[in-house]
Amino acid sequence: MACFSIPNIRIKGIAAAVPQQEVSNWDYEKLTEKERRMLVKTTGVEKRRVAPKGMATSDLCFEAAEQLLEKLEWQKEDIQILIFLSQSRDYYLPATSIILQDRLGLSKSCLAFDIGLGCSGYVYGLSVIGSMMATTGLKKGLLMMGDISSATCSPDDKSTYPLFGDAGTVSAIELDADAPPMHFNLKSDGSGYEAIIIPDGGIRNLVSEQSFEVKQIADGIERCNLNLALDGVDVFNFSITQVHPSIRELYEFANTNTEHYDYFLMHQANKLMNETIRKKLKFEPEKVPYSIAKYGNTSSASIPLTIVSELSDEVSSKPLSLLLSGFGVGLSWGAVSIETAPIVCLPVIEV
């Protein structure tokens, strides 16, 4: 079991950016009025932000980073590591993180690389940047993540299109000898790789003419192989059976329990699914914030976005015990237990 601890790492600040354009599921014409009510009740998604064509995840992350660095009064030359975690990178190659290094005006001695994960990304990303900084002594780093999902979901697919929103975030990470260890439990199950997939466009299935062929999968579900396909029942079952036991393993490793935590922040996947997990772990509703009604499922951005949109006053004013849990595409999931010091949070930025 992949439980481990990383000492001396602090989250100093978080900022999130979303596109200005807001779309409401109450206007989604692929669904009847009754189906819309059902969709909102079950998934919790009412509104989503949708990027204009050509806007990349890195544009949102860039804006968030510029504003956060200014607020923190961090000097750009002091940033020694930049990680960009996304499934919607700017180009097939090179890695987006490297373009961001230059665009942000960071030093050439800043190391930069990408990670290709989704829903579990915030927890995984923290573990990667945290362990690199803790072992190498790099002092300041930026962990940027999010996705433009609207570009890859078919608007004619009611099983994906109304669920996802676009967002990009940045977390400022600092080496701090006084920071208590973060405890992680990270997991993978590649046997479920087809549960959330864009089948074509990689090396396995190169883009071909057939990739663009729109197929009717079911009533209200039309998409091509360059669109995201989601098996809702499989993902739902995975989440309600795998997430809570892995958190209990983390409790045992970190010597904590549900009562220990001030807040439990879950990837914003689906309200019914998240509520099922919340009840299994016996968290009180007040301890489990949601941003899914306003922003939908924003992939790896959902945990930092929820922190800045729902918990900003709390995390910025006092130390807290936080439990963060990401789960989904891969299948990949992980949880982290963090004792925070006040975190600088910017209000959600519109680009």
């Binding site: 009754k34 189906e35 009510r37 059902m38 969709l39 009740k41 079950t42 998934t43 099983s159 098996d231 809702g232 029942v233 499989d234 739902f236 079952n237 309600i240 059976t241 689906n270 019914l272 699914m273 099922t276 009840k279 299994k280």
Partner: protein, 77 residues
């Protein structure tokens, strides 16, 4: 567990249904209200109430309320 209780719980979750709409022989996919969201609601309910996990194949194989009930009954610890 008995099927009356099971139906009562289902009807509570599907709050658009008139109580008494569901019968053991009701073919749930033929209900006007049926959508894929109801599948998730059924899975969540059965998981929470009976600690039984239904997968996609289970649901595809079932056509009536009683079919689902029988699957759950055989798996309840």
């Amino acid at each position: 567990m008995n099927i009356e209780e099971f139906i009562e719980k289902l009807e509570e979750e599907f709050d658009e249904l008139e109580p008494g709409t569901l019968k053991p022989e009701t073919s749930f996919r033929d209900l006007d209200e049926w959508s894929s969201m109801h599948a998730l609601i059924i899975i969540a309910l059965i998981d929470t109430e009976y600690d039984v996990t239904l997968n996609g194949d289970d649901l595809r194989a079932a056509s009536t309320v009683e079919d689902i009930f029988n699957i759950v009954k055989t798996r309840v610890a």
